[in-house]
Symmetry: C2
Subunit: 602 residues, 2 copies
């Protein structure tokens, strides 16, 4: 019998923690019309400071949720990275500036969180603040655990801000719980999940300011390797600049307590450290230090990302690392992006519970790669520069090489998921430029009906649907046209996945799948109406690999994607990753792919 004053409730998904990972997940689930709640112990949201770099891949993810326009409007773009090394006169100098692997943007965490909060609010979801979990229990009943409609997670919540005497406790019965509760994750600790990795920690100082400066790369990302320490300078919105400095233990740690001592290192001392490293360039705050912090971070990955695929952890709760690669917030949000659609599909009854295990297999592998990258990068970053006296030091060339090698990594674009039920790596040769397990790369095509240039990624929103891209090949060629027509017949078989998993009363292309056709050829030679009616349920569904009327966009998509005149069928997952590739003659292979995790409508 329930204790008096304790309310019981049910929810499909309970998210603990409203940082970037929790908010990304809550917004994604709200978009998918999932019944979701999100709690946070803080009474108000982060206002400024904290993490701020958004990688090219994360920008794409924001765009896939319709949030890209605002992100790009509010943030500042970063295109170049400059490397500075000690020079012969005791200062620093650069002679090389690199192009980043894709445009990054910088925006403070408070603004990023606001983007999610506003989007969620429109969908009727708001963060329940000043609320903490006090206990969490997972059922041990196997029948309950394997039934997607059960509520096997029991979480006790307590409101911290209610007047004395009012009901403070609530027991939530959830189908799924996400612990997005940061580096000191209560969820992780409660389930006794260990953090694996080195014990050595790094200490970082961070300063935000609008500088008066003669530093030529103040609007580029600059990595400075000086004889007085290393630092990272990142441009920010509204003329602000952030400086990250790796600090020596003795400068920061109180030897008696073994803890960071903010009396030893405040904003004035941090500014001095920065100015010393950046000499001979001037760096004078025009309006004071707008934000600063010190933090210690180790490089560790949680041993598990999930308990029985019912309780998950994401973000800093499962991986911690240094800020240099700018990957903390990006990795966190992409964890949530990976998880949300899988939970949504299971809750809708579209996918088997087994789909959920790919969250840990995909994201933990990535986190391990991230830590390995961070270690190597950190070692180079904190190592003394190579000089006449110190031949063992890090050479400029080593540093640049590391940067180039890991361009795909810091951009988030190189993330590669291994084969699983949702990643089938057969037939890669049919589309060598579309790496199975990687995100589907952007490319402009033109629409057959109106010659409007279309960024193909805009047709791949995070809307819980799998996308089937029919690369129809050289459609002008009669033999190829016949192949396409035969493929259409195959797609119209009742046992084809498009029909087998279609939603009752809906057309096969208007339910769990969205089908687009992309033809080779010139717009002038291709009549929209020539395509089989099945491929054009709406006039917007057919694209051509041609340049647009202004000559500014499009063309060469087939060649960039490595697709030949015979075409290819490409399945893109709801999160934008290439899931499977098949030949136009082999629609059945895709039937098999979907049968491995998809459920028919009951």
């Amino acid at each position: 019998m329930p204790v008096p004053n304790v309310r019981h409730s049910e929810v499909d998904v309970l998210i603990i923690g409203a940082g970037p990972a929790g908010l990304m997940c809550a917004n994604a689930l709200a978009n998918a019309r999932v019944n979701v709640r999100i709690i946070d112990k803080r009474a108000v949201k982060v206002a400024t400071g904290q993490a701020d770099g958004i990688s090219p891949r994360t920008i794409e993810v924001f765009q896939s949720y319709g949030l890209g326009e605002r992100l790009l409007r509010e943030s500042c773009e970063v295109h170049l990275a400059a490397f500075y090394n000690p020079n012969s006169t005791g200062g620093i100098e650069t002679n090389k500036v690199f192009r980043l692997n894709g445009v990054e943007v910088a925006l403070h965490q408070g603004a990023i969180e606001s983007i999610f909060l506003d989007s969620m609010k429109e969908l009727g979801v708001e963060v329940e603040r000043s609320t903490i979990p006090t206990s969490i229990e997972l059922s041990t009943d196997e029948n309950e655990l394997t039934d997607p409609s059960s509520h096997p997670v029991r979480v006790a919540l307590q409101r911290l801000d209610l007047p004395e005497g009012e009901s403070k406790e609530e027991i939530v019965h959830a189908k799924f719980v996400l612990g997005a509760d940061g580096a000191h994750s209560w969820v992780r600790k409660t389930f006794d999940i260990s953090m694996d990795g080195e014990q050595s920690d790094f200490i970082w100082g961070v300063l935000d300011m609008v500088p008066e400066t003669d530093f030529p790369d103040v609007r580029n990302k600059s990595l400075i390797h000086s004889n007085y320490g290393s630092c990272l300078v990142v441009p920010r919105e509204a003329d602000r600049v952030r400086i990250y400095m790796q600090l020596a233990d003795e400068d920061v740690i109180n030897p008696e307590t073994g803890r960071v001592d903010k009396d030893k290192m405040g904003p004035e001392q941090l500014l001095k450290v920065a100015q010393k490293s950046l000499h001979p360039y001037r760096f004078i705050p025009t309006n004071g230090i707008s934000w600063w912090t010190l933090y210690i971070i180790g490089q560790r990955v949680a041993s598990k990302f999930s308990i029985k695929d019912r309780v998950f952890i994401a973000g800093d709760a499962c991986h911690t690392h240094s800020p240099k690669a700018g990957q903390g917030m990006n990795a966190s949000m992409n964890d949530a992006h990976n998880l949300a659609w899988k939970i949504a599909l299971v809750l809708r009854g579209w996918a088997d519970m087994s789909l959920l295990s790919t969250y840990e297999s995909e994201r933990r592998k990535y986190a391990q790669e991230l830590i390995a990258f961070d270690k190597m990068y950190s070692t180079l970053f904190s190592g003394k520069p190579m000089t006449e006296q110190n031949r063992d030091g890090v050479s400029h060339e080593q540093f640049l090489k590391a940067f180039q090698m890991f361009g795909g990594f810091t951009s988030g674009i190189g993330v590669h998921y291994s084969p699983s039920v949702v990643v089938n790596d057969s037939n890669q040769e049919l589309a060598s430029g579309l790496v199975i397990g990687q995100r589907f790369p952007p490319q402009k095509f033109i629409r057959a009906a109106d010659a409007c240039p279309i960024e193909i990624q805009d047709l791949l929103p995070s809307d819980s649907r799998f996308k089937l891209l029919v690369f129809a090949g050289k459609f002008g060629d009669p033999a190829q046209q016949a192949r396409v027509e035969s493929m259409v017949k195959d797609m119209q078989r009742p046992e084809c996945f498009l029909n087998r998993y279609a939603m009752p009363g809906k057309s096969s292309t208007d339910s769990r799948f969205d089908v687009f056709t992309v033809s080779q050829g010139r717009k002038d030679d291709i009549q929209f109406m020539q395509f089989p009616a099945f491929l054009r349920p709406h006039w917007s569904k057919v694209l051509i690999d041609d340049i647009d009327v202004t000559g500014s966009f499009g063309g060469n998509g087939y060649s960039r994607y490595g697709i030949g005149p015979q075409g290819a069928l490409v399945v893109v997952r709801p999160d934008g990753y290439v899931g499977a590739i098949a030949s136009l003659d082999n629609v059945e292979e895709l039937d098999t792919y979907f049968a491995s995790f998809m459920k028919t409508s009951s």
Copy 2:
């Protein structure tokens, strides 16, 4: 003595009529913080239908007011124009599709008006509806007329929607009045301004629908010349299509009254006319006819656009023409765009009253060109196609040629203002691609400080300021660098326009002028800090004519603009038109240009 119950008030600008011209003007003036009121006799705004085509130039103008993003999001893009002619089997066919001269968009007039209304509301200006002017008088006192701070226009207003007994009349004393009150303009008639042009009128029918069709160019702009009549098919937002048909007098006019008879021609009859012209293609409304109208229009231009530069007329009040070129609403909004900044500058005391006379000289000339174009186009459009039997008919080739010839016209990009106080056509040879009197063409450059690609038109907002673009030439060349430094010295002279007209207490580049520098060369070779500090009061002020880091944007700007390695100084007017060009060695020429209309701060 005022009559009891009559309120007297003063306003800087009173706009009569809240259609596209009136709203464009009101929004532009509100942006410029001008004290403006706008009245309209209608109780509610236009909901749908009416004019809908937005030309490439008008899109640029919307962008210059920060309204482009919303316009492009809500509208539908049109890239191609298809021409259909009779074929041998009694139907129509095409074998040629043209690229439009720039992208056009289509959006119904109600949505366009909402963009202005929302923007104005944020600036604190709303349309006063159900309000009509009942009398207007202009002072004849020359002293009053030449004093920009006087209120020489007296307009009596009446509210139509007040309860019996409440005060209904107001006398407004305005510095300036704009009559944007449509083809039957009360302002124009009251001042007895004649409409010049032919007496013959054309009758048009218009239908909006979402069609079920096999017409291949349903998403392109299609001009159909059939044996059963001519029509124009224009794609619209939300899958809608609009069909314009030119009708025969006998089908529409009631011979007894001589007026349009809606009983003779309703939506069903119009649909039949369209279907006959479009045969053999199916055109079946899927959800009925969503809007339709009939209208008669003549090709006429008002003899004057202004009374003493105190009362102006704009839009349909001063020019009427057929809808085929899609120029009605565009011409109207561009009238207002031309006028607004001139009024704002005079009201601020920045410009002499004489600036206002360029409104009529620039826009009336354009209106006359538009009418001439429309006549020629209409004749071709309404003429019978040339056939074996009818050798005098219009050939397909004649039609296509007319379309190509006037591409610059329908796009709005070819609009060319003649020399005046604000258009000085000297030194054209220094920048042959920047036609003096035409709008400054778009081009991507990269920013020197951060390599961010920048569309130069985005630096030319409609913010009442003149822009000085310093094309610094080949800055890497020491001789050229010396020229630039000498030019900077010239610009620092107290008598230079940048200082002479500077606002008290503000820097010369932060007042009436905005100065940008555009250098030739490669980003890799040019250090931002090398430019004279005068040219970089902010890090964003220097651009380079190079491609961006992704290789997608920029480059060849100097060559497109026809500027050599010696550079050029280019003045862009607040409305985005090239006003003057000078050599870097001849800053004094620009002093003379500005002295011809600009006033020093009093």
